[in-house]
Symmetry: C2
Subunit: 545 residues, 2 copies
């Protein structure tokens, strides 16, 4: 028996109309270095209609991909809503990727149009000759004439393109499972993989972002979206802002701590969202030049683990609550948010806030051991996190047919590659990546937990833990240690330092002192290189009894 409810499709066009009509006085503002250029949601609605008309004039129809190569600014936001509303597919390109990755991604996605920020033209002009499906380039915020187009590609100026158009558009009624946007993961191994968000997934994800268990936006709030619009569906912020009447502040290319603080001083946002490295840079700048940032109700932090110490300094010294969230490109991205239950006593509340956070009702979660068996949600047992839900991807994009890679999916669940625990009341704590965790005698040992504990020793500068093969236990941990200058510390000292926090079988027996831990291009420990060094016999290893 079916219900009598209207079969109203969740649609970003409806969201745009709502924002332009009933939240029309809310604003989108871009930092210019010494002020903001601002438009209302009402004006955003008109410009989105103009862009939709312009794109239709360039031959873009339903399902066609429109890429962006842009900073966080008003023009990017207009594209963010106009492209899916007209039934086309928004594909923000990550301007920080290597040229060969960008070329692969744009060709794989078959982008027809690219909207490019003029400040990125020199970078983009290298790529353009290699983009096989691009027929039109629209240059925003600068001189389109500076771009030399290859044969078969037309270059347009954003301002000219929009000024010729009507400010209304008959946005189509779409199946809510239609593609709205794409995002490619930039994995460290293999080719980038594409995820295709839908109108439905973006709408439901926005409702969760707006919920108190998500970010908790209310009409009248203002969010400084430092997280790039080209990264992981922009954490869902653009659509959640339109849904809730939250004004948007966009930093354009001014992403360094000092301009961000200047922007905050001028605009007083109630929310901000960024990765931990941004917050740590902001904190350093704040400590040098203190400034009142208590206008921030919440600073959302995701993308990597957040150090508890930083949470305490922000809250106790600057009156800003840091909210730890977890997610990934494949999950739209909001998976969890670390809100303690209201009424929790302060110290216990902190212990909740250090975790990655709690799952909402729509994101089902389970832990799986490396032999595929179920791991209990007891807050102690480690397992690989698997999730499912209406804003979790069920496949990777491939022209013609989606790919369900068995290494990434199991029985309809997404295998996240993150290893951690889930508490009985649904709080996730991530301990490691599945490729880094040590599989020892049927149990998992977190390399990250060991690293943090070793690095807490005063004589240690850095420590990286990798798995090395073991005949009896399958794998055992090896610790590569950089000792502080003029100190004298032994493997036995370090192992003794760990005994209070780790079970006996978790204690590493293999230790190697190194001059430095090899790093990736983005500064993370390069554990693959370390494993190669171990295999090649390049490490001097001491093994304790």
């Amino acid at each position: 028996m079916l219900g009598t409810m209207q079969d109203e499709q969740l649609s970003l066009a409806t969201l745009l109309k709502y924002a332009a009509d009933f939240q029309g006085d809310r604003t989108v503002s871009t930092w210019t270095g010494d002020g903001v250029r601002t438009q209302t949601f009402r004006e955003l609605g008109s410009d989105a209609a103009r862009l939709a008309n312009a794109l239709r004039g360039l031959g873009i129809g339903e399902g066609d991909r429109v890429a962006t190569f842009m900073w966080n600014n008003n023009e990017h936001m207009i594209a963010y809503i106009a492209v899916p509303a007209m039934g086309a597919v928004l594909h923000p390109l990550n301007v920080r990727l290597f040229p060969e990755q960008l070329v692969y991604i744009a060709n794989h996605a078959e982008d027809h149009v690219v909207i490019v920020d003029a400040s990125l033209l020199s970078h983009f002009s290298e790529l353009l000759p290699k983009l096989k499906t691009v027929r039109h380039v629209i240059v925003a915020n600068g001189d389109a004439a500076k771009l030399t187009a290859p044969a078969g590609v037309q270059v347009h100026a954003w301002r000219d393109v929009l000024s010729e158009q009507y400010d209304s558009y008959a946005f189509p009624v779409l199946d809510e499972r239609s593609a709205a946007g794409m995002c490619y993961t930039s994995g460290t191994t293999g080719e980038p993989k594409g995820v295709v968000y839908t109108h439905r997934s973006n709408w439901l994800h926005s409702m969760q972002l707006v919920a108190p268990s998500g970010f908790g936006f209310t009409a009248g709030d203002t969010i400084l979206a430092i997280v790039p619009l080209f990264h992981a569906n922009a954490w869902g912020i653009p659509y959640a802002a339109l849904m809730s009447g939250t004004s948007l502040l966009l930093p354009d290319c001014f992403r360094q701590p000092e301009p961000l603080l200047a922007m905050m001083a001028a605009t007083k946002p109630t929310f901000a969202a960024a990765v931990p490295t941004v917050w740590s840079g902001v904190l350093t700048a704040l400590e040098a030049n203190p400034q009142d940032i208590s206008h921030l109700r919440t600073a959302v932090v995701g993308g990597a683990a957040l150090a508890p110490a930083m949470m305490h300094v922000f809250e106790e010294k600057y009156g800003v609550r840091l909210l730890h969230v977890w997610g990934m490109t494949e999950t739209s991205p909001l998976g969890t948010a670390a809100h303690p239950p209201v009424g929790t006593a302060k110290e216990e509340a902190w212990s909740y806030r250090y975790t990655q956070g709690r799952f909402p009702a729509a994101v089902q979660a389970r832990l799986t051991a490396y032999d595929g068996t179920a791991v209990p949600n007891d807050g102690v047992s480690l397992g690989e996190l698997e999730v499912r839900g209406p804003w979790v991807t069920g496949a990777y994009y491939s022209p013609g047919e989606s790919l369900v890679d068995p290494e990434k999916f199991r029985d309809g669940w997404l295998r996240t590659g993150d290893v951690g625990t889930i508490s009985p009341n649904g709080f996730l704590s991530i301990a490691d990546r599945s490729k880094d965790v040590i599989k020892s005698g049927g149990e998992w040992i977190s390399s990250v937990n060991l690293e943090n504990a070793v690095m807490a020793h005063p004589a240690v500068v850095e420590a990286a833990v990798i798995a090395v093969p073991d005949e009896k236990w399958d794998e055992r941990p090896l610790v590569a240690v950089v000792a502080a200058e003029n100190t004298c510390v032994t493997p036995v000292d370090l192992r003794n330092h760990l005994v209070t926090d780790f079970a006996k079988w978790q204690l590493p027996e293999h230790w190697a002192f190194v001059d430095e831990v090899p790093k990736t291009s983005v500064g993370k420990f390069d554990k693959k290189r370390l494993r190669d060094m171990y295999a090649a016999g390049e490490l001097t290893v001491a093994t304790l009894a």
Copy 2:
């Protein structure tokens, strides 16, 4: 082009599992008159599985209707989630309806099972012989043996039925458009009409209830649900509570102001939800015996217009924010909630809070004039409110085929029968019902606004306004006035009293002094009777020039 997102169906079974697993320590409690009987969401999950097993044992399958005839208590809540989770359809019967209405509704819905509270057995036993499709009755909270069953009907005791069952159930995966629950409107004219909620509509509606623009529940909150579970989908509270980790307090049959206040003193809820008459009774009791109720973060008020004076007393004297909401059975029911934008200055904020509230993104709204033309959202122009959205009904239930009554639907929009204004930023103010509004010269005049203004005159006890036919203007207002004893007031006095607040064409020329305004069984002005009296020449009418 479709997306790669999982085609995860929104399902109340998933919600039950989430609540029982990850919000398992939250509770449902029923007031006993001097305390509460409580179970955790975890225990609720076990009992829901037991009930599902029991119902399956009685032959209930997907799509079968299971009725309830219950107060707000734990057993009713178990049925609320177990019945839809197993794929059957929950049909709460309004225990306050007349027997002939209840018989019509239960037969129309083809209820197979009725779960009855023992305290309502004498009322129910009158109905039972006339219920054509009921085969099983389950009696909760008392002695099942007191019910004499007609031939073909089996009577069971709730406790016996559940105690024999397993505490787990393989809840089916359902199409999210499957029926989850039914509710009949008790219109003043015609037969009651059924609305059939779906898993999808209840899920999406719960997300909106949880949003800050709805009720704003957070994990750790506690809501006293005074609104009956048998009324208008229980305002969506049961499912929103499970979604957010909000504990539920249920008053059972103790719905009078004093026991409600005793319950609040004992349980300290952070939310409560009820119609204005309940709040006005609570206020009277509070004024007689003051008590601290500032534990209430928000008291939600809907179902009828809320007097501004009551909002001020609750907030200024008792520290409780009354939140005005609007909705109807056909809208699940949440349509609007009167949250001013944050940052609004206090006096302006009050003007927002007096309205019925703001529409959320998923509920599209428009005003239509009585000739079918569009009315602007200018905050002044009156029109009939029409709405659409994923939790708005698109038809009324009829066995075999749903009914789309053209008097209630227009081009896929629900005609609410409410006449009012919408401000440019989406706030709804209801002025009247469409059947009561006066259609004069192409414009609408609100009978309610005139009544309130006339009743504000010190010499007036009551005033009811009806439309009377007019050759030139189609209709004109007639005011039936009950004057205070020992006063001497004339139609001219009263019209002069109105001139500052109404345009000249809105001022009534027809006045009739009456001893009392006729009332309906629930105490509302009986305007149909008044119109009949006018037509029969039973009113003495003075007509001003």
